[in-house]
Protein backbone atom coordinates (compact mmCIF):
# COMPACT_ATOMS: atom_id res chain seq x y z
CA UNK A 1 0.00 0.00 0.00
CA UNK A 2 1.27 3.43 -0.81
CA UNK A 3 0.97 5.91 2.02
CA UNK A 4 2.71 9.22 2.38
CA UNK A 5 3.29 10.50 5.87
CA UNK A 6 1.94 13.94 6.63
CA UNK A 7 5.24 14.86 8.21
CA UNK A 8 6.89 14.26 4.85
CA UNK A 9 9.10 11.53 6.20
CA UNK A 10 8.21 9.47 3.14
CA UNK A 11 10.88 9.99 0.51
CA UNK A 12 9.20 10.77 -2.76
CA UNK A 13 10.71 11.77 -6.02
CA UNK A 14 12.93 14.67 -6.45
CA UNK A 15 15.52 14.54 -3.71
CA UNK A 16 18.98 13.03 -4.06
CA UNK A 17 20.53 10.53 -1.67
CA UNK A 18 23.92 11.34 -0.23
CA UNK A 19 26.54 8.74 0.63
CA UNK A 20 25.72 9.09 4.32
CA UNK A 21 22.09 8.20 3.62
CA UNK A 22 20.65 11.64 4.22
CA UNK A 23 18.75 13.49 1.54
CA UNK A 24 19.10 16.90 0.02
CA UNK A 25 15.91 18.73 -0.74
CA UNK A 26 15.53 19.69 -4.37
CA UNK A 27 12.40 21.78 -4.48
CA UNK A 28 11.35 23.47 -7.73
CA UNK A 29 12.01 27.21 -7.70
CA UNK A 30 8.32 27.99 -7.94
CA UNK A 31 7.65 25.83 -4.88
CA UNK A 32 10.48 27.50 -2.97
CA UNK A 33 9.06 30.94 -3.65
CA UNK A 34 5.53 29.88 -2.75
CA UNK A 35 6.69 28.10 0.38
CA UNK A 36 8.51 31.21 1.56
CA UNK A 37 5.38 33.30 1.08
CA UNK A 38 3.23 30.71 2.88
CA UNK A 39 5.58 30.50 5.84
CA UNK A 40 5.60 34.29 5.99
CA UNK A 41 1.84 34.12 6.52
CA UNK A 42 0.81 35.57 3.16
CA UNK A 43 -2.88 34.70 2.88
CA UNK A 44 -2.90 35.38 -0.85
CA UNK A 45 -0.27 32.69 -1.33
CA UNK A 46 -2.44 30.19 0.50
CA UNK A 47 -5.43 31.17 -1.65
CA UNK A 48 -3.31 30.57 -4.76
CA UNK A 49 -2.35 27.13 -3.50
CA UNK A 50 -5.97 26.23 -2.80
CA UNK A 51 -7.18 27.62 -6.13
CA UNK A 52 -4.55 25.62 -7.99
CA UNK A 53 -5.16 22.18 -6.48
CA UNK A 54 -8.59 22.12 -4.83
CA UNK A 55 -10.53 20.90 -7.85
CA UNK A 56 -8.15 18.02 -8.59
CA UNK A 57 -8.11 17.06 -4.91
CA UNK A 58 -11.91 16.78 -4.93
CA UNK A 59 -11.78 14.59 -8.03
CA UNK A 60 -9.11 12.39 -6.46
CA UNK A 61 -11.04 12.06 -3.19
CA UNK A 62 -14.13 10.99 -5.13
CA UNK A 63 -12.23 7.85 -6.11
CA UNK A 64 -12.10 6.74 -2.50
CA UNK A 65 -15.26 7.92 -0.76
CA UNK A 66 -18.97 7.62 -1.22
CA UNK A 67 -20.10 11.03 -2.32
CA UNK A 68 -19.19 14.60 -3.05
CA UNK A 69 -20.01 15.85 0.43
CA UNK A 70 -17.62 13.39 2.04
CA UNK A 71 -14.97 14.19 -0.59
CA UNK A 72 -15.23 17.87 0.33
CA UNK A 73 -14.75 17.02 4.01
CA UNK A 74 -11.67 14.95 3.19
CA UNK A 75 -10.21 17.77 1.11
CA UNK A 76 -10.96 20.31 3.86
CA UNK A 77 -9.16 18.03 6.34
CA UNK A 78 -6.29 17.81 3.88
CA UNK A 79 -5.96 21.58 3.66
CA UNK A 80 -6.07 21.84 7.45
CA UNK A 81 -3.27 19.27 7.68
CA UNK A 82 -1.30 21.21 5.07
CA UNK A 83 -1.61 24.37 7.19
CA UNK A 84 -0.60 22.54 10.36
CA UNK A 85 2.41 20.85 8.80
CA UNK A 86 3.77 23.47 6.41
CA UNK A 87 6.42 24.48 8.91
CA UNK A 88 7.67 20.90 9.02
CA UNK A 89 7.61 20.35 5.25
CA UNK A 90 11.18 19.48 4.33
CA UNK A 91 11.00 19.82 0.58
CA UNK A 92 11.88 16.21 -0.17
CA UNK A 93 9.13 16.21 -2.74
CA UNK A 94 7.24 18.90 -4.59
CA UNK A 95 4.52 20.67 -2.66
CA UNK A 96 1.97 19.05 -4.95
CA UNK A 97 3.25 15.53 -4.25
CA UNK A 98 3.19 16.25 -0.54
CA UNK A 99 -0.37 17.63 -0.63
CA UNK A 100 -1.74 14.82 -2.80
CA UNK A 101 0.03 12.30 -0.58
CA UNK A 102 -1.83 13.69 2.42
CA UNK A 103 -5.10 13.59 0.48
CA UNK A 104 -4.65 9.96 -0.57
CA UNK A 105 -3.78 8.96 2.98
CA UNK A 106 -6.85 10.69 4.41
CA UNK A 107 -9.19 9.56 1.65
CA UNK A 108 -8.13 5.92 2.06
CA UNK A 109 -8.70 6.14 5.82
CA UNK A 110 -12.11 7.69 5.30
CA UNK A 111 -13.02 5.16 2.63
CA UNK A 112 -12.08 2.28 4.90
CA UNK A 113 -14.04 3.78 7.77
CA UNK A 114 -17.04 4.04 5.52
CA UNK A 115 -16.47 0.38 4.67
CA UNK A 116 -16.82 1.14 1.01
CA UNK A 117 -13.65 -0.85 0.41
CA UNK A 118 -12.65 -3.57 2.82
CA UNK A 119 -9.17 -3.86 1.33
CA UNK A 120 -7.40 -1.67 -1.14
CA UNK A 121 -4.87 -4.25 -2.19
CA UNK A 122 -7.44 -5.99 -4.36
CA UNK A 123 -8.02 -2.76 -6.25
CA UNK A 124 -4.56 -1.28 -6.39
CA UNK A 125 -2.57 -2.77 -9.19
CA UNK A 126 -4.58 -4.89 -11.55
CA UNK A 127 -7.85 -3.03 -11.96
CA UNK A 128 -8.42 -2.94 -15.68
CA UNK A 129 -4.70 -3.30 -16.48
CA UNK A 130 -5.20 -6.47 -18.47
CA UNK A 131 -8.18 -5.34 -20.47
CA UNK A 132 -8.07 -3.97 -23.98
CA UNK A 133 -7.51 -0.24 -24.08
CA UNK A 134 -9.80 0.24 -27.03
CA UNK A 135 -12.92 -1.64 -27.94
CA UNK A 136 -11.52 -4.62 -29.93
CA UNK A 137 -14.43 -4.41 -32.36
CA UNK A 138 -12.96 -1.16 -33.68
CA UNK A 139 -10.17 -3.17 -35.32
CA UNK A 140 -10.20 -5.85 -38.00
CA UNK A 141 -10.02 -9.25 -36.33
CA UNK A 142 -8.83 -11.38 -39.23
CA UNK A 143 -7.32 -11.24 -42.68
CA UNK A 144 -4.58 -9.07 -44.13
CA UNK A 145 -5.90 -6.01 -42.32
CA UNK A 146 -6.08 -7.67 -38.89
CA UNK A 147 -5.22 -5.11 -36.23
CA UNK A 148 -6.06 -2.14 -38.45
CA UNK A 149 -9.08 0.09 -38.09
CA UNK A 150 -12.49 -1.46 -38.79
CA UNK A 151 -14.31 1.50 -37.23
CA UNK A 152 -11.90 4.43 -37.43
CA UNK A 153 -12.19 7.44 -35.13
CA UNK A 154 -14.94 9.82 -36.14
CA UNK A 155 -13.55 12.98 -37.69
CA UNK A 156 -13.69 16.01 -35.41
CA UNK A 157 -10.75 17.65 -37.10
CA UNK A 158 -12.13 21.16 -36.66
CA UNK A 159 -12.10 20.82 -32.87
CA UNK A 160 -9.58 22.59 -30.68
CA UNK A 161 -9.26 22.49 -26.88
CA UNK A 162 -10.81 25.97 -26.79
CA UNK A 163 -13.80 24.87 -28.87
CA UNK A 164 -14.32 21.78 -26.75
CA UNK A 165 -14.26 23.80 -23.55
CA UNK A 166 -16.53 26.51 -24.97
CA UNK A 167 -19.38 24.02 -25.04
CA UNK A 168 -20.88 23.27 -21.62
CA UNK A 169 -22.22 19.99 -23.00
CA UNK A 170 -18.75 18.86 -24.02
CA UNK A 171 -17.33 19.91 -20.65
CA UNK A 172 -20.11 17.90 -18.99
CA UNK A 173 -19.29 14.92 -21.19
CA UNK A 174 -15.63 15.13 -20.15
CA UNK A 175 -16.50 15.51 -16.47
CA UNK A 176 -18.89 12.57 -16.65
CA UNK A 177 -16.20 10.45 -18.29
CA UNK A 178 -13.71 11.36 -15.53
CA UNK A 179 -16.25 10.68 -12.78
CA UNK A 180 -17.01 7.26 -14.24
CA UNK A 181 -13.35 6.16 -14.35
CA UNK A 182 -12.18 3.45 -11.95
CA UNK A 183 -10.00 4.95 -9.24
CA UNK A 184 -6.71 3.62 -10.60
CA UNK A 185 -7.34 5.28 -13.95
CA UNK A 186 -8.82 8.42 -12.46
CA UNK A 187 -5.88 9.20 -10.18
CA UNK A 188 -3.36 8.86 -13.00
CA UNK A 189 -5.40 11.05 -15.33
CA UNK A 190 -5.96 13.72 -12.69
CA UNK A 191 -2.34 13.91 -11.62
CA UNK A 192 -0.86 13.80 -15.10
CA UNK A 193 -3.34 15.67 -17.29
CA UNK A 194 -5.49 17.77 -14.98
CA UNK A 195 -2.68 18.72 -12.58
CA UNK A 196 0.17 18.50 -15.08
CA UNK A 197 2.46 16.53 -12.75
CA UNK A 198 5.48 14.95 -14.42
CA UNK A 199 5.66 11.21 -14.99
CA UNK A 200 8.23 10.45 -12.28
CA UNK A 201 6.22 12.44 -9.74
CA UNK A 202 3.03 10.50 -10.54
CA UNK A 203 4.80 7.13 -10.45
CA UNK A 204 6.39 7.91 -7.07
CA UNK A 205 3.16 9.15 -5.55
CA UNK A 206 1.09 6.20 -6.74
CA UNK A 207 3.89 3.65 -6.40
CA UNK A 208 3.52 2.38 -9.96
CA UNK A 209 5.94 1.81 -12.83
CA UNK A 210 6.13 4.03 -15.87
CA UNK A 211 4.75 1.16 -17.96
CA UNK A 212 1.74 0.91 -15.64
CA UNK A 213 1.30 4.64 -15.78
CA UNK A 214 1.05 4.74 -19.56
CA UNK A 215 -1.33 1.77 -19.72
CA UNK A 216 -3.63 3.47 -17.23
CA UNK A 217 -3.17 6.96 -18.58
CA UNK A 218 -4.00 5.95 -22.11
CA UNK A 219 -6.98 3.90 -21.03
CA UNK A 220 -8.30 6.93 -19.15
CA UNK A 221 -7.64 9.36 -22.01
CA UNK A 222 -9.31 6.97 -24.43
CA UNK A 223 -12.45 6.83 -22.28
CA UNK A 224 -12.66 10.61 -22.25
CA UNK A 225 -12.00 10.71 -26.00
CA UNK A 226 -14.72 8.09 -26.61
CA UNK A 227 -17.18 10.11 -24.53
CA UNK A 228 -16.47 13.22 -26.59
CA UNK A 229 -16.73 11.19 -29.79
CA UNK A 230 -20.07 9.83 -28.69
CA UNK A 231 -21.32 13.29 -27.73
CA UNK A 232 -20.16 14.94 -30.95
CA UNK A 233 -21.66 12.07 -32.93
CA UNK A 234 -25.07 12.79 -31.42
CA UNK A 235 -24.77 16.57 -31.64
Amino acid sequence: MNTVAITNTGFVGHAHSKVDGSHTAVLPNTDQALLARLRAGEEKAFDELVNKHHSALIRMAMGYVADREVAEEVVQDTWMAVIENLSRFEGRSSLRTWIFGILIHKAKDRGIREKRHTTFSAFESCEDDNEEILDPSRFQQTGERAGHWAIPPQPWDDQTPEKLLASQETVNAMNNAIDALPRTLKEVLILRDVEGADVKEVCALLNITETNLYVRLHRARERVRAEIESFLGKA
Binding site: S55, E72, I83, F139, G147, N175
Partner: protein
Protein backbone atom coordinates in the same frame (compact mmCIF):
# COMPACT_ATOMS: atom_id res chain seq x y z
CA UNK B 1 -2.63 -7.38 -54.52
CA UNK B 2 -1.55 -3.90 -53.45
CA UNK B 3 -1.70 -3.42 -49.69
CA UNK B 4 -2.23 -0.02 -48.10
CA UNK B 5 1.07 1.69 -47.23
CA UNK B 6 0.55 1.41 -43.47
CA UNK B 7 0.56 -2.39 -43.79
CA UNK B 8 3.84 -2.66 -45.58
CA UNK B 9 5.78 0.27 -44.14
CA UNK B 10 6.92 -1.03 -40.78
CA UNK B 11 4.75 -3.85 -39.48
CA UNK B 12 2.93 -1.83 -36.83
CA UNK B 13 -0.83 -2.21 -36.71
CA UNK B 14 -3.24 0.63 -36.07
CA UNK B 15 -4.15 -1.07 -32.78
CA UNK B 16 -0.54 -0.80 -31.62
CA UNK B 17 -0.36 2.82 -32.71
CA UNK B 18 -3.52 3.60 -30.76
CA UNK B 19 -2.29 1.77 -27.65
CA UNK B 20 1.06 3.55 -27.67
CA UNK B 21 -0.23 6.98 -28.56
CA UNK B 22 -0.12 8.47 -25.05
CA UNK B 23 3.49 7.38 -24.55
CA UNK B 24 4.25 8.70 -28.04
CA UNK B 25 2.76 12.09 -27.27
CA UNK B 26 4.74 12.25 -24.02
CA UNK B 27 7.91 11.40 -25.94
CA UNK B 28 8.33 8.39 -23.66
CA UNK B 29 8.98 5.70 -26.28
CA UNK B 30 12.37 4.30 -27.31
CA UNK B 31 13.76 6.09 -30.36
CA UNK B 32 13.24 3.16 -32.73
CA UNK B 33 9.60 2.74 -31.74
CA UNK B 34 9.03 6.46 -32.01
CA UNK B 35 10.45 6.42 -35.52
CA UNK B 36 8.30 3.43 -36.54
CA UNK B 37 5.23 5.19 -35.20
CA UNK B 38 6.07 8.39 -37.01
CA UNK B 39 6.50 6.38 -40.20
CA UNK B 40 3.10 4.72 -39.76
CA UNK B 41 1.44 8.03 -38.93
CA UNK B 42 2.83 9.60 -42.08
CA UNK B 43 0.81 7.15 -44.16
CA UNK B 44 -2.31 6.46 -42.04
CA UNK B 45 -4.87 9.22 -41.80
CA UNK B 46 -7.07 7.35 -39.30
CA UNK B 47 -4.19 6.91 -36.86
CA UNK B 48 -3.15 10.54 -37.33
CA UNK B 49 -6.72 11.51 -36.49
CA UNK B 50 -6.74 9.26 -33.41
CA UNK B 51 -3.43 10.55 -32.04
CA UNK B 52 -4.53 14.12 -32.64
CA UNK B 53 -7.75 13.49 -30.73
CA UNK B 54 -5.86 12.01 -27.77
CA UNK B 55 -3.57 15.04 -27.86
CA UNK B 56 -6.56 17.34 -27.89
CA UNK B 57 -8.12 15.52 -24.93
CA UNK B 58 -4.83 15.79 -23.04
CA UNK B 59 -4.67 19.56 -23.52
CA UNK B 60 -8.38 20.09 -22.80
CA UNK B 61 -8.17 18.15 -19.52
CA UNK B 62 -5.52 20.55 -18.29
CA UNK B 63 -7.80 23.52 -18.81
CA UNK B 64 -11.13 22.17 -17.52
CA UNK B 65 -13.03 24.64 -15.35
CA UNK B 66 -12.05 24.25 -11.69
CA UNK B 67 -14.27 24.15 -8.64
CA UNK B 68 -13.35 26.05 -5.48
CA UNK B 69 -14.21 25.57 -1.80
CA UNK B 70 -17.49 27.00 -0.57
CA UNK B 71 -17.23 30.43 1.03
CA UNK B 72 -17.74 28.87 4.47
CA UNK B 73 -14.94 26.34 3.97
CA UNK B 74 -12.67 28.98 2.43
CA UNK B 75 -13.19 31.28 5.42
CA UNK B 76 -12.40 28.46 7.84
CA UNK B 77 -9.16 27.73 5.98
CA UNK B 78 -8.11 31.37 5.91
CA UNK B 79 -8.80 31.73 9.62
CA UNK B 80 -6.74 28.67 10.44
CA UNK B 81 -3.95 29.81 8.16
CA UNK B 82 -3.90 33.29 9.67
CA UNK B 83 -3.90 32.04 13.23
CA UNK B 84 -1.06 29.64 12.44
CA UNK B 85 1.21 31.89 10.40
CA UNK B 86 0.44 35.51 11.17
CA UNK B 87 3.07 36.62 13.65
Amino acid sequence: MNLPPELVSNGLTCRTIAQQSSAYLDDALPAVMKLRMACHLSTCQDCRRYVRQISLVRVALGTLPKCQPSSVKRRALRERFSSRYTH
